[in-house]
């Protein structure tokens, strides 16, 4: 798409520099921990060392005696106010502070408030908790075993089973499988991992006893929804709650749920009538807040000898930990996992998911992912590779043979989605050319003859992002629309506010570019503000790649409403009828007489100084956008790896990522999002895992054990593009922030498996640590 505006205006397609950067590069960001208020005090959480234990007693006397300690809150205290439990975002409840027993290691047991953070930590040390250990359930495959302990005594249903969910045609699918010439099966675990944004979660709860208002500075990806939930659960009138999400140091889904620490800080502030700051340590963040994945999946593909896929059958066990704190739309217990049919055209599929409890941290959040889409994309892209192995065919050829053809869009998938647009083979072709696929295959053949291990992995993923539409999607009952409000000042400058909240995505720049595109006001003249529920219009927030598809759309529609009013004003100023006017970004002019023009700045001034008779003053609009459908970004990723036989270490030699996210607002930011998402995908494929030992001790509970890639391990990313606009989005965009994290894990794993496929290897579970590869090489007799 060519640019319709000049670089100075900076509308769609211009790689303009980010407006938000100036404060960050000077150390002048304003993150939650930077909030300093008069009389502020500090909270520290006491946590359980055990994964499953009866709480015999919680003795707070010594802690309370420590000078500087102001309060110690226990579960019993909260129970008196009916706040010991809180609802999760998915039809379950979660203990704020434990009563009766604890269900996972690092569960919240007591909250100590003190004059300074060091004293609060000292006080927490002095809280004496007596536990009686109970049998621990770690393996989700044993959750339904009658010999396993029932974890949730609070539930009526005496079972560790949370939900069964299925979609598709079971009998038709079974029938295809019975008659299929070729079948392929993969058992794949998508390991439990944690988004680990560099800033942990935290808040400053500030109850003002004089005004009765509660202000919560919160690491929140969804400030408006959080305000409503605080009102509903806490019984505080919603007009008396103001949630402010200041600068957020990365979210990736981790900052969607409400955590016990937030609730405790609010309770403490209401009690002490002073501002209470609570900031997680890194270990608290990794061990207790929203984990992701932990999907134990089986996929089977049925195909003909010709390689045409005929059906997909998926069975999955979902480990949700101690409480089902999944953050996903209420009609979808397994999120949008049913996108697992992928980029391929076949009529029949069946997918079932069972959720279970274990003695692990609660969650099931969408980590840089639109609700389980990452698990789905990984599964189908692994399964297709296993099928290619079964058919002894090239995985690229197999994909191309089965891609949904461009003319078939909108495409109704066998599990019920309507894909908006796509040209999967186009992205594949660009990727193959960029990487030099045929040459690489030749090189691989030669290397194999020499005993060297090299692999090429391909992933042609399809995402489903941008929820709503509201008729199908809601979170805790709140419909998944989103919003934008634009106000044009008399001098032609603008401020706009959205219901979303950037956590690094660059909204202050990209939303301004949408306004620039639609109204011709330079992006540099447009201030974007998000995250203050007192000022911004209501919205569901930023996750699931929904900012551009939903709030971005709202911004375009609100701008078009402004343009419609501007046209009336222009006609008044130019003394002509509206029909006589044409628009180009930045001005209305008389058809055939371009010199007779009024700029948007002229019009803005007139909106306050010289409006037509009978017209109300001002130039502003708000839009609450309900998307007619989701958007379906896609792409092809190709990864080339070399394996060191001596160590089992996998070296990513090249990684080509061709993304199609429809029309692009800012190509620089899109590339940056792709680099970052690929790096997280790389981390998941090779490093990141929150493991548990058999006693339920967290094995990845700090950055000493939860491995993240540095600049040294991280490959250099090569990016490419195709552009298939979304037909239903106001400016044809689809969203991109999560694509690379969704699409890349399969490319990495496929590459490693490809390097070892001649040895009969068909699958390796992530994270692919060197020891796993080395063990395989040993087992296969490649090394001694």
């Amino acid at each position: 798409m060519g640019c319709r505006t000049s670089p100075e205006v900076g509308g769609m397609g211009h790689p303009i520099k980010r407006k938000e950067d100036l404060r960050f590069i000077q150390g002048k960001g304003n993150y939650v921990d930077d909030v300093q208020l008069p009389e502020m005090v500090y909270g520290h959480m006491v946590r359980s060392p055990y994964a499953h234990a009866r709480l015999k007693s919680v003795n707070t006397e010594n802690a309370k005696k420590l000078p500087g300690v102001l309060a110690v809150i226990t579960g019993e205290d909260l129970a008196k106010a009916n706040l010991a439990w809180m609802p999760t975002l998915f039809f379950d409840k979660q203990m704020v502070l434990a009563t009766g027993k604890v269900l996972f290691q690092s569960q919240e047991v007591a909250f100590v408030v003190a004059e300074d953070p060091y004293t609060a930590a000292d006080g927490a040390e002095l809280v004496e908790v007596e536990y009686e250990e109970l049998p621990v359930l770690v393996d989700p495959h044993k959750s339904l075993d009658p010999a396993s302990p029932i974890l949730r005594e609070d539930r009526e249903e005496k079972s560790n089973h949370i939900f069964h969910w299925e979609v598709g045609d079971k009998s038709a699918t079974d029938e295809v499988f019975e008659n299929a010439a070729v079948k392929a099966k993969v058992d794949a675990v998508f390991q439990r991992c944690h988004p680990a944004p560099l800033e942990t979660c935290g808040c400053v709860a500030d109850f003002n006893a004089a005004t009765g208002r509660l202000t919560i500075h919160l690491t929140s990806q969804a400030p408006h929804a959080h305000r409503t939930l605080f009102a509903l659960v806490g019984g505080i009138p919603e007009n008396n709650i103001r949630v402010i999400s200041p600068d957020i140091g990365g979210g990736f889904g981790n900052k969607v749920p409400i955590y016990p620490g937030y609730v405790c800080a609010v309770v403490a502030s209401l009690t002490l009538k002073r501002p209470v700051k609570w900031i997680e340590t890194r270990s608290e963040n990794l061990q207790s807040t929203g984990f992701a994945r932990d999907y134990h999946m089986t996929a089977e593909l049925a195909a003909g000898q010709d390689g045409k896929i005929q059906a997909l059958r998926v069975k999955t066990l979902a480990d949700h930990g101690a409480f089902n704190a999944a953050a996903q739309p209420t009609k979808f217990p397994a999120g949008l996992f049913s996108i697992c049919t992928g980029a391929y055209d076949y009529p029949t599929a069946f997918c079932e998911v069972d959720g279970v409890y274990t003695n692990k941290a609660p969650g099931g959040i969408a980590y840089r992912c639109s609700f389980r889409v990452t698990e789905a994309a990984y599964l189908i892209e692994r399964a297709v590779d296993v099928l290619a192995q079964e058919l002894k065919t090239d995985p690229v050829d197999l994909r191309r043979k089965n891609f949904i053809a461009p003319q078939k869009f909108p495409y109704k998938s066998p599990l019920g989605w309507s894909y908006d647009s796509g040209d999967y083979d186009a992205a594949m072709k660009v990727a193959l050319d960029m990487v030099g696929y045929d040459e690489l295959r030749k090189e691989q053949q030669e290397k194999r003859k020499r005993g060297e291990l090299m692999g090429i992995g391909v992933s042609s993923f399809v995402e489903i992002v941008g929820a709503g539409p509201a008729h199908t999607f809601d979170i805790a009952g709140i419909k998944m629309f989103d919003s934008s409000e634009i106000r044009i000042h008399p001098t032609g400058k603008a401020i706009c506010r959205m219901g979303t909240k950037s956590q690094g995505q660059g909204h202050e720049t990209t939303y301004a570019q949408i306004v620039a595109e639609e109204l011709g006001i330079p992006a540099s003249d447009v201030t974007v503000e998000e995250g203050d529920t007192d000022t911004a219009p209501y919205g569901l927030g930023t996750y699931a790649s929904r900012s551009t598809p939903v709030s971005g759309a709202a911004t375009a529609v609100a701008a078009r409403k402004i343009r419609a009013k501007a046209k009336k004003i222009a006609a008044h100023l130019l003394e002509c009828s509206e029909e006589d006017l044409d628009w180009e970004p930045g001005k209305f002019f008389v058809k055939g007489a371009p010199s007779k023009a009024k700029t948007i700045q002229d019009i803005a001034f007139a909106a306050y100084t010289n409006m037509p008779e009978g017209m109300e003053a001002g130039l502003e609009a708000v839009d609450y956008y309900d998307p007619p459908n989701l958007t379906f970004p896609f792409g092809t990723y190709i990864c080339v790896v070399d394996i060191d036989k001596g160590t089992g270490e996998v070296k990513v030699r090249r990684f080509v990522a061709v993304d199609d996210c429809g029309n692009i607002i800012n190509p620089m930011i899109v590339d940056g999002q792709i680099h970052g998402g690929l790096t997280e995908g790389f981390a998941i494929a090779f490093m990141q895992e929150i493991g548990y030992d058999e006693s339920g001790n967290v094995q990845g509970g700090s950055f000493m054990d939860y491995l993240l890639p540095t600049a040294v391990e991280t490959p250099t990313w090569e990016t490419g593009k195709t552009c298939t606009p979304s037909p239903h989005h106001p400016f044809g965009a689809k969203g991109v922030g999560e694509s690379p994290n969704v699409g890349s894990p399969a490319a990495f794993v496929n590459a490693v498996v490809d390097a070892l496929s001649h040895l009969g290897v068909t699958h390796i579970d992530m994270p692919i640590a060197p020891w796993k590869v080395w063990n395989i090489l040993k087992e296969k007799g490649v090394v001694n």
């Binding site: 938000e20 590069i25 921990d33 560099l198 940056g672 998402g677 790096t679 700090s702």
Partner: protein, 168 residues
């Protein structure tokens, strides 16, 4: 609680005196006494580098050093990088090359890059990657951070050691 001790530390060129607990971490001192909140805490275990500052020319993760250990030292934080109201070439490079997203790692990245360019004004890509390997970034994938450091290296070459005169 041990008795408070007097420390004298020069922070970004300005002398500071404070009575501090011996256990007070340097990062908490920097964030609370001079109130310079650009230095962030990301991990508490010396891994992420968000708290990196430069002490007497060397990078230090200020979450793993006590404030009392800096008595008599000169500390440079991200807030001290600007010179005469101008951005340091590294700050400019991070903006120009899209070397940041959420911004949380950025101050630490800037300080590590600053120390790197002090020791090695023309680092290769590999040297840059090793030079910032004590700093984690969850957003950018490092690629544009490397470019940002290269940008600064080139700019400083042109402008002499511009921006490096306020070395702590």
């Amino acid at each position: 609680m041990a008795e408070k001790q007097l420390i004298r530390v020069k922070v970004n060129g300005r002398q500071r005196e404070a009575m501090v607990e011996p256990r007070l971490l340097l990062v908490h001192f920097i964030r609370s006494i001079p109130g310079l909140t650009g230095t962030h805490v990301g991990c508490d275990t010396t891994h992420c580098g968000a708290c990196t500052v430069v002490i007497d020319g060397k990078t230090v993760k200020s979450c793993t050093m006590f404030a009392v250990q800096t008595d008599g030292c000169e500390v440079l934080t991200v807030e001290g990088l600007m010179h005469d109201g101008n951005l340091h070439p590294l700050q400019e490079g991070f903006k120009e090359e899209h070397g940041l997203q959420c911004g949380y790692c950025t101050p630490g990245m800037l300080m590590s890059s600053y120390a790197l360019l002090q020791q090695n004004p023309h680092p290769s890509e590999e040297e840059i990657r090793w030079g910032i390997s004590g700093n984690l970034c969850r957003c950018t994938g490092y690629q544009n951070i490397v470019k940002a450091v290269q940008y600064a290296s080139a700019k400083m070459e042109k402008g002499g050691k511009d921006g490096l005169s306020n070395v702590a």
